[in-house]
């Protein structure tokens, strides 16, 4: 390591800590402080308020389903990207990153254009078959999936690339078929990348706002998720409620990340 003089070392530390403090730590602590301003009263209120409970339940339902879908497709697409050569591979790889670059509001709008029941490209036909996507859970799950799509893939792809396919080939030569190789060799090797990807997607899905707002219609008790509720509470001057709901959301996300970093084996970086 390069030796840095003491004043420079301290300057760099102060800069880094200050940056993170003013950008992340300070605002988040404010939420915590505000949420607990009236003691636990606000929380009791939230968990006894039907609208809030419905919003939180819906958020969890949407997030969990979106994460499960992303888990299956994420691992599948990762395997496809790393283990197989096919025309259009680079296009697929670029498309996977698209949700990172595009604003969630744009995602919501584009889904609306394609799937709405009145003049959407698919929506009209789907509506005839009795399938409603926009203003329903399906649309919200789709929007959340879209937004969280790259998180599992970008965790898993580097690990898959690093472990190579030697172990898989060895398993095949020992008599394992494709399914056995996947369950016994590939999956255990990428386990922690998958777990980390899932946690990141879960945290991201719980907090999704823009895309969901557009496709959900934001109907209280039906298609209103927790983030939408926070916005509504804040705008209707129920600031204590907004802070408390925000705290619940942030707490769950932070908890996920903490649990994983405790579970994760030490030698794995």
């Amino acid at each position: 390591m390069v030796e840095v003089s003491t004043p420079v070392k301290w300057l760099l530390r102060v800069l880094a800590i200050g940056y993170v403090f003013f950008l992340v730590a300070w605002p988040v602590t404010t939420i915590v402080r505000q949420a607990f301003a009236d003691g636990l009263g606000t929380f009791v209120e939230i968990f006894s308020d039907e609208q809030a409970v419905n919003a939180l339940t819906l958020t969890v339902q949407v997030a969990v389903q979106a994460v499960l879908i992303n888990l299956v497709f994420g691992v599948g697409i990762s395997l496809l990207l790393v283990r197989y050569e096919f025309p259009g591979k680079r296009v697929l790889s670029a498309l996977v990153d698209l949700p990172m670059a595009v604003s969630p509001v744009v995602v919501g709008l584009s889904l609306l254009l394609v799937y709405n029941g009145r003049d959407g490209w698919f929506g009209e036909h789907l509506e005839k078959w009795g399938v409603q996507i926009i203003f329903s859970g399906t649309g919200m799950i789709m929007a959340t999936c879209f937004v969280a799509l790259p998180l599992v893939i970008r965790e898993v792809v580097p690990v898959l690339t690093e472990i190579g396919d030697d172990q898989e080939q060895a398993a095949r030569s020992l008599g394992a078929n494709a399914r056995q190789t996947f369950w016994r060799i590939t999956l255990p090797s990428i386990k922690w990348a998958v777990v980390y990807g899932v946690v990141l997607s879960l945290a991201r899905s719980l907090g999704e706002f823009g895309a969901v707002k557009i496709v959900s219609g934001n109907v209280a008790n039906q298609t209103q998720t927790a983030t939408l509720l926070v916005e509504k509470q804040y705008q209707s001057f129920d600031q204590a409620g907004a802070y408390a709901t925000s705290f619940v959301l942030a707490f769950v996300s932070v908890l996920c990340i903490v649990v994983v970093s405790i579970l994760r084996p030490k030698e794995h970086h």
Binding site: Q169, A170, S173, L174, G175, A176, Q180, S189
Partner: protein, 344 residues
């Protein structure tokens, strides 16, 4: 014949990795596929194992046509250069993998794994993870894992390539002894001619996607089919009109019979028990115009000579000594058609 490879061709783009290769590998023997890197030997091994597919041609293992069979149906054991250990499983679990896939009863698995670990001297490491083993131990574990499924052929792809010289030598001897105990038909790929000659019953020399020669180590060394095989199996130098091995040149300090080549020692290097000389030949022709360098060797690279240290000492050789070189009686020689190149 245990493995029958017929007219196999494999192309990567315009590059022929294997060009119409046919070879039969006998049952119960230890065969080496020997050749330079990129010569196609690993590709051939992988095609036999089913890990790669040939563009055309067929592979038969123990009489059954395996050309279209996936690797798991070929009943081959494969050992990789970089071990390909299952990192998340203990040594015992690694070895048991093939048996568990085959739904062998638990007690039976336990017995077999115990036996195999005994065979590869890893019994005390059964519960360790592969990351706690040395390279040589990992490769022995990989071998036990491949043997566990009682394969009809055992294929090893540069099995000792990633190990250091000393461990490599030990493992090679160990492999030979293991084979004498287990008798499974074994094919291994190597680019090290010493390894091939020391371990194998039969050597297949492969270069640029073609089989150059098949034979026992002695046959290959004593009767090389061509320049390439001769050059690949050992050092080659050029003395006048022929190419031969440096240790097949006799050195004298007095002009002897006709046909000797006088020269001067320009380099003298002692390596262990042997002495390596470089001898610059003198122009012996009476008439400088008629003797071209292609017949006398003058003007070409200096001749390499290897002789035992005791012999060099008795001749009292030193830098600048004048010597007369003769090809030894019965030496393996091939005509030097192209300017002599020092063999790699």
């Amino acid at each position: 014949m245990s493995i029958e490879v017929t007219n196999v061709t494999k192309k990567y783009g315009d590059f022929y990795a294997l060009d119409d290769v046919s070879v039969s590998l006998p049952t119960g023997q230890l065969t080496a596929l020997l050749g330079p890197s990129g010569g196609g030997k690993s590709t051939l091994l992988r095609i036999i194992a089913g890990l790669d597919t040939a563009d055309s041609g067929s592979v038969a293992i123990e009489g059954t046509n395996a050309t279209k069979l996936p690797p798991q149906k070929r009943n081959v054991g494969f050992v990789f250069q970089h071990y390909a250990v299952f990192k998340h499983m203990t040594v015992a679990k690694n070895v048991a993998f093939g048996l568990e896939i085959r739904k062998t009863p638990k007690a039976e698995v336990k017995r077999r794994v115990g036996e195999l670990l005994e065979l590869v001297h890893l019994s005390q490491f059964a519960d360790r993870l592969p990351s706690q083993l040395s390279g040589g131990q990992r490769q022995r574990m990989a071998l036990a894992r491949a043997l566990a499924v009682e394969p009809s052929v055992l294929l090893l792809d540069e099995p000792f390539g990633a190990l250091d010289a000393k461990v490599r030598k030990e493992l090679r001897e160990w492999l030979r002894r293991l084979h004498d105990e287990v008798h499974v038909t074994t094919v291994f790929v190597t680019h090290d001619q010493e390894e091939a000659m020391e371990v194998a019953d039969e050597i297949v020399v492969i270069n640029q996607g073609r089989v150059e020669q098949v034979g026992s180590p002695d046959q290959l060394y004593d009767e090389p089919a061509n320049d390439f095989v001769m050059g690949f199996l050992g050092e080659v130098t050029r003395l006048g009109p022929v190419r031969l091995r440096p240790h097949d040149i006799e050195v004298a300090t007095t002009p002897g019979r006709a046909g000797t080549f006088p020269g001067t020692v320009t380099r003298l290097l002692r390596v262990g028990f042997e002495v390596r000389l470089q001898v610059e030949l003198e122009d012996v022709s009476r008439d400088g115009r008629s003797a071209t360098s292609s017949t006398t060797g003058v003007g070409a690279a200096p001749v390499s000579v290897v002789l035992p240290r005791s012999h060099a000492r008795s001749l009292d050789l030193e830098l600048g000594s004048r010597v007369w070189l003769t090809a030894a009686v019965g030496a393996v020689t091939v005509p030097a058609m192209v300017p002599a190149v020092v063999a790699v």
